[in-house]
């Protein structure tokens, strides 16, 4: 039976070239209102998506001579450009935290730059870790593009812009090496351990980089005077000479002031990624800024320290009001979600800003067009217009109104359909936690898999495993006796979504699995250790 499944895979592999043509669909989306950057909507509009790009957007009839593979009725919904997460520390492999035993720190010896957290050669593109589940979660919130920044020390490396099309770097990276990140992170034992030392570390790096460059020009006969090549200093020197390309996250007033001081002393321009305290700092109106939208006062802020009443009042009234005024005075401020992955609070905060007087257009632009311009990808994303990537989402009501829902999200043409989700599901009939033996019957034969499930309320999670490998379950749901699971497997280099839907009865599950374009099969699942009484169903 295993051999037959291998044969199936071989067949798929052979058929692959034909399969790729299937993704170059031409899709028509009609009966929608398209958001325009000026603030108005294009009513009764239609969008033509050709493969990964938008071919045409307009009102009235689309150009003739197009043969549509799929026509979607938007149902009077609203289309917005895919949101851009302008500052995300996620989507990467977490670096291993050293928990070595504390050694007596030798104050006379300074560790190398890399050991102290100065790693300008690190690149986010080299540490990506994407999973379909995360992508789906981002798509559900309307995010299609993320700006991934490296975590780490004082100079942590360069960031990258990803378009969430797949789980491999080759698919997703739009631009690699966008900004060089400088962080006001203090080391615990090695220099620098105070904020002021971080500032001087940066200034001294500038001097060292300049000296490194000068020494390359000089020609010494004495071999001992020749410089030792330092690629990290060379990379830094490029950025220092350009004078820009830096990004500095700042959390509170002190850090903001320090970053400004560095920019003045070193004559560099940096994009600051600021927290909610930014309205208390002096910021020039023309300055580029990314504001992480979060109304909780920073723990060291006066508002947080001077009593619960004041902190609550700041969160509910003062900060939304002041940040709204700040946004109106500073037109070049982009917005970003507060934490990597915390999208729900973003929507709530956007609505609060709208209540305090910021226009919808300004808010949507701050999440789409302006970050695209900042990141240099405004030729690809940031607006729903011909020639751009087909990354946008459709809502049933204007996005910033209460109780709006995202019905569909398109990421470079690939559709994520959220409209059929039933929010109110029935309570599960049983607890399916445990190990199961799954038997899949298809035209090609019978195949067995192991399934481990964990259940929490309605949600199921776990993995399928076989001799060939494991597949994580992206989404699982049990409502009453209906069970549905989705997993994605890279079959032939492409992510194919396997959707299992079954009925649970008497301790076993029975249902169908659809393998995307490869058709459907039947499957049964019994708890591990049980005898599979019933024979596999007859093939359809």
């Amino acid at each position: 039976m295993k051999r037959t499944f291998l044969a199936l895979l071989a067949a798929v592999w052979l058929l692959l070239p034909c399969a790729t043509d299937l993704t170059a669909d031409i899709v028509l989306i009609k009966n929608v209102s398209v958001f325009q950057p000026e603030g108005n909507y294009l009513r009764d509009a239609r969008i033509v998506v050709d493969g990964r790009k938008i071919r045409w957007v307009g009102q009235g009839q689309e150009p003739s001579g197009l043969c549509f593979d799929k026509v979607i009725d938007g149902g009077g919904g609203f289309v917005y450009p895919g949101l851009i997460d302008a500052f995300s520390s996620g989507w990467q492999k977490k670096s291993v935290d050293e928990k070595a035993a504390p050694k007596p720190h030798d104050k006379e010896v300074r560790k190398s730059r890399a050991e102290r957290g100065i790693t300008p050669l690190a690149r986010s593109v080299e540490h990506l870790k994407l999973s379909q589940g995360e992508i789906r979660k981002a798509a559900r919130a309307g995010f299609t593009v993320v700006h991934v920044v490296p975590g780490g020390g004082t100079c942590s490396g360069t960031s990258a812009v990803l378009s969430l099309t797949g789980t491999t770097a080759a698919d997703t990276v739009l631009v690699a090496d966008v900004f060089m990140l400088l962080r006001l992170n203090r080391n615990r034992r090695d220099y620098p351990t105070t904020l002021s030392s971080v500032l001087y570390e940066w200034l001294q790096l500038q001097e060292d980089a300049r000296f490194h460059r000068d020494m390359a020009k000089a020609q010494f006969r004495d071999i001992r005077l020749r410089r030792r090549y330092a690629p990290d200093l060379e990379r830094l020197d490029e950025y220092f000479r350009a004078g820009r390309g830096w990004m500095i996250p700042v959390d509170n007033l002190v850090e903001h002031r320090l970053a400004g001081k560095w920019m003045r002393k070193s004559r560099q321009t940096a994009v600051l990624v600021a927290g909610p305290e930014v309205w208390r700092s002096p910021v020039k109106p023309g300055e580029n800024l990314v504001l992480r939208l979060d109304f909780s006062p920073d723990p060291v802020s006066r508002y947080a320290q001077l009593g619960e009443k004041l902190a609550g009042k700041a969160k509910k009234e003062v900060y939304p009001r002041e940040l709204a005024a700040f946004l109106l005075d500073h037109p070049r401020t982009c917005l970003a979600p507060a934490d990597a992955g915390d999208f729900k609070s973003l929507l709530k905060n956007l609505r609060r800003l709208k209540k305090n007087g910021v226009s919808e257009a300004r808010l949507i632009n701050a999440l789409t067009r302006m970050p695209a311009a900042l990141l240099g990808v405004d030729d690809y994303v940031g607006a729903v217009a011909p020639g751009r990537l087909a990354s946008f989402f459709v809502t049933d009501k204007p996005f910033l109104e209460e109780k709006s829902r995202i019905l569909r999200t398109f990421i470079e043409g690939r559709e994520y359909d959220f409209s059929v989700e039933d929010k109110s599901s029935k309570p599960p009939a049983a607890n399916l936690t445990g190990a199961w033996k799954v038997t899949v019957t298809s035209r090609m034969g019978v195949f067995e898999l192991q399934l481990t499930l964990e259940q929490e309320g309605n949600r199921l999670s776990g993995r399928f495993s076989s001799a060939m490998g494991t597949m994580d379950i992206d989404e699982g749901r049990m409502s009453g006796t209906e069970v549905s699971l989705t997993a994605s497997a890279p079959i032939g280099g492409q992510d194919t979504v396997l959707a299992f839907s079954a009925q649970w009865a008497d301790g076993r599950m029975k249902g169908t699995v659809s393998m995307g374009t490869f058709g459907e099969a039947m499957f049964t699942a019994v708890p591990e250790g049980q005898d599979n009484n019933g024979q596999a169903e007859e093939a359809i």
Binding site: Y191, L225, V300
Partner: protein, 416 residues
């Protein structure tokens, strides 16, 4: 209207605008040049003390406060604290870190600033910690609660560099790395100063590659540039020290390299070297009688202040904690007992003397016409624990008003 009671006057002052005149009437004013003046008025204009006198005439509409005999002293200056800083007060990774500057890390949101105001403190010298033989630079702040860091930093004060001797720098080594003894501490300081002396600013790389002189080209070293400022006299040293002998060693180093020590911090054994300190013109910034918390603080007598005062050493009292700073006036009162000082001389230890150490005695630390209007009002003897500060004014603006602020706290607001 001259008949305003304190409450009415304060309600009028709720605007608290700069640039408006403010007159304090019928106060007992402690001046150092004219003694204690009873029933005297103070006219404050444009952030300065404009006039001191009896029954001053003012334009109508001037805000008035009737002090009803309360004591007015110069705003207290605390010359050794660690408040209002964020991001680490000790660069503990290396032994010599003069490039660190506390002025970069000023945190205007620290509630300790407000607590200082409740004790009548208007200016603080907030410092780097004492983990390194040569620490970082310190900063002088005026406690304008509600303002930004730029507004608080007092740019007219002398810039100071923190050094530390004794147990604290030794402790970080753990017995395994330099410095582990007092010899090591002095050696580390000396090594750094020798390097600074030898450091030349421009070591640019010659185009043809021919190197002249004994030194190879060097990158610009920002750390040594700060030490060069010290050797040139643009920075003065404030050195944390407890034992008299290690202080004498630093005085010797200062003579060798030509830098200035402005004051020793804590120096519990100062009374043993009163003559040397007086001869070198070095002051001390100390506790009145807090001692015995460390081994090097275990040999002490507060009655030694008498000898120091007699020899003319500048004695400033400091807090070094966020608790003592609220009661510096009580500590100053103790100097009457320990050093035999009069009331005004004891008051100087928390006003004029720290001002001298910080280089601000030209405009702060005493009540004189033309000086900054930094004042504290007490409801009794300003040196006694039986009175408390009721009003604190910085540059003519009220930053603490005991009656009004207790009401604000109940409503959950923050002042300004």
């Amino acid at each position: 209207m001259k008949t305003g009671a304190l409450i009415i006057g304060l309600l009028v002052l709720a605007a608290g605008l700069n640039g408006r005149d403010l007159v304090l009437r019928h106060g007992t004013v402690y001046t150092f040049d004219r003694g204690v003046l009873a029933d005297t008025d103070l006219l404050l204009r444009d952030g300065r003390i404009f006039r001191i006198g009896k029954d001053l005439k003012t334009a109508s509409g001037t805000e008035e406060i009737d002090l009803q005999g309360k004591a007015v002293i110069p705003g207290i200056i605390d010359s050794h604290t660690h408040i209002a800083l964020l991001g680490g007060i000790n660069e503990a990774a290396e032994n010599v870190t003069p490039e660190v500057d506390m002025a970069d890390q000023v945190n205007p949101d620290d509630p300790s600033i407000f607590y200082c105001l409740t004790g009548g403190v208007t200016m603080v010298h907030t410092m780097h910690g004492s983990a390194n033989p040569i620490g970082g630079r310190n900063v002088t702040l005026k406690l304008k609660w509600g303002g930004s860091a730029e507004e608080m930093i007092e740019n007219r004060a002398t810039r100071t560099l923190k050094m530390a001797l004794g147990e604290n720098p030794k402790r970080a080594g753990g017995g395994k790395t330099l410095p582990s003894t007092r010899m090591g501490v002095t050696a580390v300081i000396r090594d750094a100063l020798i390097e600074a002396r030898a450091y030349a600013r421009k070591r640019s790389v010659p185009a043809r590659g021919k190197v002249r002189g004994p030194y190879p080209p060097q990158a610009r070293n920002l750390r040594l540039e700060v030490l060069q400022q010290l050797l040139k006299g643009e920075l003065v040293v404030r050195c944390h020290s407890y034992r008299a002998d290690e202080s004498l060693q630093l005085i010797r180093l200062a003579k060798e390299f030509g830098f200035t020590i402005r004051a020793f911090e804590h120096l519990h054994q100062a009374y043993r070297i009163a003559d040397e300190l007086a001869a070198a013109g070095i002051g001390i910034s100390v506790f009145a009688d807090n001692w015995n918390y460390k081994t090097e603080a275990s040999e002490f007598t507060p009655f030694g202040m008498e000898l120091l005062h007699r020899k003319g050493v500048v004695i400033a009292l400091n807090s070094d904690t966020s608790e003592i700073m609220r009661r510096l006036y009580m500590e100053a009162g103790k100097m009457r007992r320990y050093a035999g000082m009069s009331d005004l001389e004891a008051l100087k230890t928390i006003t004029l003397n720290p001002a001298r150490l910080l280089g601000v005695e030209g405009f702060a630390g005493s009540i004189r016409e033309g000086f900054d209007a930094d004042l504290a009002v007490f409801d009794g003897d300003p040196l006694s624990g039986a009175s408390k500060c009721v009003l604190t004014i910085i540059e003519g603006r009220i930053y603490f008003n005991r009656e009004k602020d207790s009401r604000l706290k109940e409503s959950g607001e923050v002042k300004s």
